[in-house]
Symmetry: C2
Subunit: 218 residues, 2 copies
Amino acid sequence: MSKIDEHELIAKVTERVIAALKQRQPFDGLIPVGISVRHVHITPADLEQLYGPGAQLTKLRDLRQPGEFAANQTVTLIGPRMRPIENVRILGPARSHTQVEISRTDAIVLGLNPPVRPSGKIAGTPGITLVGPAGVVTLKEGVICANRHIHLNEADAARFGVKPDQEVEVEVEGDKALIFEHVQIRVGPKFVLEMHLDTDDANAAGINCGAKAWLRKR
Amino acid sequence: MSKIDEHELIAKVTERVIAALKQRQPFDGLIPVGISVRHVHITPADLEQLYGPGAQLTKLRDLRQPGEFAANQTVTLIGPRMRPIENVRILGPARSHTQVEISRTDAIVLGLNPPVRPSGKIAGTPGITLVGPAGVVTLKEGVICANRHIHLNEADAARFGVKPDQEVEVEVEGDKALIFEHVQIRVGPKFVLEMHLDTDDANAAGINCGAKAWLRKR
């Protein structure tokens, strides 16, 4: 053995271990939580089919992400169990694909088994029927359980040390405390810092809109 | 000692220490998951009020815990929002207090805000109305969100190194992976190893009855 000092050796090993442990720091930042209740994104053509020729989305209220809004228009969803879910809100603005985002609890009511997907990734997902006051649209695909995700801008991403599409863990405290895994980082210049959870996740964690959660990198 | 290089020595010791630290962490045992849908435990007197004089619970099927069974009898629940939840099963045998266990999703439908509690701890919890074919019972208290818990016998407890009422973490893998905190250990001589989750927790984790989860001590 070389003549390294025993104390120095202990100090170096300790330092190395602590550095390794720090890489798994528990808490990297506090994130406001937004809860996404079941909702629909819709194409202009499908909106006209449901609400009549010339129909346009009108704003009920702004959402937290700039440009996004809850529309006055709603639909009734019906799946293979023939049980309706009423008053499902359409979110605007209109999109290039119609998409239905539901919780697993909703999926059980409807009789569907949608995959967990990021918004927009609807290839191969189940279809569903949407009922409006002027007509019905039956989608061949488009039903998803939205994946957990955090919206943030580049400054927030730098502050938290996270990159686009990285998955992080997020801890919620309280009686129903839990740690969500597979929370996708979504970076956009206009995004406002917010984690989006569906109602199953929110109810499992026992939280309401405006709760705070802790970002943890692994 | 051989002439091992100083840097190599530090690296090896570090590696060994980190490996040891990791071992005490993640996974201490695999637990079968049972999902508790909303249900009612009932007193003999309340059962007679709902189902008529002399009514007794009859068995639909055994549950996994010995002696426990799902009864043929069900009730309709109604809370302050005046929206019913139908076909809520009574579990037997009869108990000394009537108790209603629901998810937070159910609580929102009913218009209640029950606390997270272990079964039996109903002091100060909200009341609710139960409707049966022969009558109605209005409870002054008795509605809870059941806490997450694991049933096990003493041999299992020794194997996992856990004690009665200890809280552990339990990890579920998959697309909706998460780590449940505050999972209570319940040791009983006849208990069969099983973690009980409500439907919100199960749907947030994307799992069905019979799924497996990993016990983690902190």
